[in-house]
Amino acid sequence: MITGWPCPTPSGASSEEYALAFDDNRPHRLLIVPALFDEANRLRRFTVETMRRLDGAGIDSILPDLPGTNESQAPLSAQSRATWRAAMAASTTHFRATHVLALRGGALVAPELPGWALAPVSGASVLRQMLRSRILTAREAGKDETSEALLATGRDHGLVLAGHDLGPAMIRELEAAEPAANLSPISQSELGGSALWLRAEPDEDPAQSAALAQVVAKALQS
């Protein structure tokens, strides 16, 4: 079910953002922080299938949009790691989440709750991959760009990477960002099968979603 929640904006006001929720007012309420940028698209189906499995295991889960992504009306270029952290903290309060499951780069913006991180990555690594994609695209067009020069521009003026319009604050903050230390990492090998976030095209694997839901459900019961 799609539901709204009040999200703080950089100007101090509040705007409505959406979340997908399997909410039955059960004791365990898991906030799911999506993967970032392209990986969010590639993992969307996997993420939602994991939520269905969690629902079946008696666990509520809520997947809020990061402002500037998915259904959000907010401009992505105005976002930063700080605005995303504030957004996830606000949705934690609104939905009374008890635990968090962050996927990949989602661990960089996760709220301070106990929980798990699937294959967490550093912000530098998230940026590196997108810089590389941009450099390769530019090279095909006969232009020579370098990571260093792009980052230097990005820190002051922002940068469009793989179609994502990132503001200067996002670039600077991601460069130094490390996954939240309060989360227990879950490795891809625990899910069986190859990583869906690597895939060139979005794909799904119900067995991997079931495995992830089971890791979380088991930990919640113990």
């Binding site: 590196r128 590389r132 450099i135 060139a200």
Partner: protein
């Protein structure tokens, strides 16, 4: 004979491109990659290179990435083998 680096590289290609293991196992030195496999665009090339770095233990500089590198499976394997020997 299939070397360890060869099988790792095939596994990475299967993982990134979502190809069936038997299809990847059938790759030979002349199998075309970039421009031949529709799954392989600039975003997935970026992912492929990052995975190679993580699993094969070397760093690929931006200026080492050119059209020839990804022309065929043979050229990619030769690059990975040379990089690992120098790492």
């Amino acid at each position: 004979m299939i070397t360890e680096i060869d099988s790792t590289l095939r596994q990475i290609l299967a993982d990134v491109l979502g190809l069936a293991p038997d299809r990847v196992a059938a790759f030979d030195g002349d199998t075309g990659l970039f421009g031949h496999l529709p799954e392989l665009d600039s975003m997935s090339v970026a992912g492929l290179l990052t995975e190679m770095e993580d699993r094969l233990g070397f760093i690929i500089d931006d200026d080492e990435v050119d059209g020839e590198l990804l022309e065929t499976y043979g050229s990619l394997l030769a690059f990975a083998t040379a990089k690992q020997a120098g790492a």
